[in-house]
Amino acid sequence: MEMPVPDARIMAKKAQLVSRLLEVLPRHAVIDDVAETRAYECDALAAYRCPPLCAVLPSSTNEVAAVLRICNDMGVPVVPRGSGTSLAGGALPTADCVILGVARLTDVLETNYDDRFIRVQSGRTNLSVTGAVEQDGFFYAPDPSSQLACAIAGNIAMNSGGAHCLKYGVTTNNLLGVTMVQMDGTILTIGGAHMDAGGLDLLGVICGSEGQLGVVTEATLRILPKPEGARPVLIGYDSNEVAGVCVSDIIKAGVLPVAIEFMDRPCIEATEAFAKAGYPMCEALLIIEVEGSPAEIDEQLAVIKAIAQRHNPVELREAADDDQAKRIWLGRKSAFGAMGQINDYMCLDGTIPVSELPYVLRRIGELSVEYGLGVGNVFHAGDGNMHPLILYNANTPGDLEKCEAMGADILRLCVEVGGCLTGEHGVGIEKRDLMHVQFTAADLEAQMVVKDVFDPKWLLNPAKVFPLDSSAGRRV
């Protein structure tokens, strides 16, 4: 993975930079000790690492603005960081950058059930947003797998999705407004507790811009009343193809489950060995969850089960109570951890049209043999978002490169069949150099123009999203 050569002139200014930062931040909010900056050298994509020049942990929007003004002034790149759970390297530093972490911005600022929104500081974790309203019967819908730890700031940067977005949408569909600081320190308020934009939908383009347009410090989020209940079924098939057809038939029948999760055999086996959820050993496993009143759940599940039966499942298990529901979900939720027991893995995130599922899985299987690397697939089947986990050994020289090459092939395949490189994790650095596969130079130019407008010097998270050769003329 190529990163821009760090600017020696900036690195030489470290002492000056730190002393200026200390003018606006308390000592404990500036991390410049070489031993300490190392903890900020990567996010959850640990394959790529680089300690930053320093890291700062501001405690208010004004402190964020003060930091950005200094960095803007001195021409120092800034890489914003939420909880550092990005699987795409969104918070990967460069040696000449300042990491700006929002982990200390965790307050709930306002909760309003009549208007159904919550306003929080952006470092607050996704799950703790729900935690703040659940006693009153509400929840925040987007539920990325890392929701326990990931910050709202990162969710906004990556436009995070989750297992339940088939019904509730992703971050952008649940975000009403932000307070954002531009690189030059300008504090903007965009949107609010009302719906939709009055002019251009700037909020829409900020969400998913991977921290390249500004640092979001506060967010107004839509909260929803908790459904009366939810119940999953587990369906096992002896063929990926049949499982794919089953999903499509269910959707065509007019049922809209809140989640349709798919696991393939390697993943089922790993999960069973690790979490012992009692999954059947088969080629494809579907977990389908529906919501509503008990009667509504029964009605929806009746339709789903009837369709599932038509395709001869090897197993069809409906949760009779909460405990069984938890067990059904247990394996799926342990899937990443389970794969991690086998070896290091790289988690991909391409999306494909659902109809292409059997073909894509077959091709991934072939690539796995070609490269000699194991792959397990976890898949949000309702929306076509795949998570192939490529297993490799980080301590074996050359394995990472092989894994990267195979990952690239899989993502090219996703684009080829009409899908995209990333469904919910973001481009980061991981998919950056593959952007040419999905976009023409003109397509990329149109996106980069937006960054030109928000961050004319290209100092915010500059080496991400766009292929380095495309952004070369813009980055300093």
Partner: protein
């Protein structure tokens, strides 16, 4: 996660273990969400993931620990919430224990630090010394303003107002039971014996009442946890070895169904003797001891306590980290209390540590104080009549900041099944709960 140990380094068993643990970590960051110090400080370096990174770097490079690395490792409570959270099964406890021992060996702490640690290691595990120290602290409290080190002030503050006399029950002996269902050894502990004798008394009454013959084994004493967490391996192993010998002897003589521990901090360590001694001649015996080490709530679940009538007494159950994370015992104490007729409530963020954590409240008073304040706020929000916990450390920590009386779970169970009312409920300075008279 990729590691960079040389084959030579990996020949050392401890390094090999550390490498295996580090390789399991995928750097996902889930652990940050439930780490108490990360909640308070918001710095990656004060999270498990950050500490793992610091440890990795230190070990890979055989580096003499630097002050910042030590600072962040020292700030770890060893509450092990991260282990409950970790989706990849990273054994953080063994890693941080190893790092602490490594730091103790290779890092020269400032004099005041060393002195403090030496004093704690020389006093806490020894009940008589500790009792004397508590008396001195009591006398010294009026002069607290003159004490320069906040940690020493914290110690003065933590010393209880009343110090109980020595309990005869804590001496080696056997307590009979009417219908013997099992024979168990009770670990009477060290600091607990000096701070609160009610817990062991209640435990013995309760166990014998329901069919367990209770032995206090000769030669058993401190479990070694306090020094273990300071990285003082020699000392902790010495204490542990004494216990292993004492209990093995008892197992070979009269047979033991369980070693009962009513201080969950100790329980976690005793259950880990097998790992601590894995490369030691005592390995087999240590494993035998760990295999039958049980928290008192585990033993009580086997003894089938009677169902009590509902009393309407609201008990806030505080889950000690060593119990919920260290030993993964989450429901038993609540099940037992509910069955005995108490209304059991659990505070928000019950996974977060109260800040006691062995000697942590003495060595890191600031962070510990913040965690205590949070914990008490969430408990008091429940408006409980009584707080129950399964670990003396938590009881001291929480008890020092609230007017709600705090007792050990076994004291309530004992009371509900015919024992005396826990003395703490009527202690001066505490709000006496409006509790209906129990039978």
């Amino acid at each position: 996660m990729q590691t960079h140990f040389t084959p030579a380094q990996l020949t050392d068993p401890a390094t090999k273990t550390a490498n295996d643990i580090l390789r399991a970590c995928v750097h996902c960051g889930f652990c940050t969400a439930t780490c108490p110090t990360y909640q308070v400080l918001g710095d990656e370096l004060d999270s498990p993931r950050g500490r793992i990174y610091l440890i990795k770097d230190m070990l890979e490079n055989n580096r003499v620990p630097d002050a910042t690395t030590v600072k962040h490792i020292d700030r770890c409570l060893s509450c092990l919430a991260c282990m409950t959270t970790c989706p990849s099964g990273v054994h953080y406890m063994h890693l941080v224990d190893h790092a602490r021992a490594y730091i103790e060996k290779n890092y020269k702490r400032p004099l005041s630090d060393r002195a403090l640690r030496w004093v704690l290691a020389q006093i806490l595990p020894y009940p008589t010394r500790f009792r004397v120290a508590l008396l001195l602290a009591k006398m010294g409290r009026p002069f607290r303003g003159l004490v320069p080190d906040p940690r020493l002030r914290a110690m003065l503050d933590m010393a209880p107002r009343t110090i109980p006399p020595v309990s005869r029950n804590d001496h080696p002996q056997t307590f009979a039971t009417a219908q013997k269902k099992m024979r168990v050894a009770l670990m009477t502990g060290c600091a607990q014996k000096a701070l609160n004798t009610d817990i062991n008394d209640a435990t013995i009454r309760l166990l014998t009442r329901f069919g367990a013959q209770v032995v206090v084994a000769k030669g058993a004493g401190c479990c070694g946890a306090l020094t273990h967490h300071m990285g003082k391996e020699t000392q902790s192993h010495r204490a542990a070895a004494a216990n292993i010998r004492a209990w093995t002897q008892e197992m070979d003589a009269g047979g033991l169904d369980a070693i009962v521990i009513n201080t969950s901090g100790c329980g976690t360590t005793v259950k880990d003797y097998g790992h601590m001694f894995r490369n030691d001649p005592l390995a087999a015996d240590a494993a035998r001891v760990s295999a039958i080490a049980m928290d008192v709530s585990e033993v009580l679940m086997k003894l089938d306590l009677p169902t009590g009538a509902a009393r309407g007494t609201k008990v806030a159950y505080h889950a000690a980290c060593s119990l919920q994370h260290g030993q993964q015992i989450k429901t038993y104490p609540k099940v037992l209390l509910k069955k005995a007729g108490f209304t059991v409530l659990e505070p928000a963020d019950s996974h977060l540590c109260c800040g006691s954590a062995g000697t942590y409240n003495l060595m890191q008073p600031e962070i510990s104080g913040q965690l205590k304040t949070r914990k008490i706020a969430t408990i008091e929000a429940l408006q409980p009549d009584i707080i129950a916990a399964g670990n003396i450390g938590c009881m001291m920590q929480i008890g020092s900041g609230t007017g709600v009386p705090i007792v050990h779970t076994v004291e309530l169970l004992d009371w509900a099944t015919g024992g005396p009312q826990p003395p703490a409920l009527t202690a001066p300075g505490k709000r006496t709960p409006a509790v209906p008279i129990l039978r």
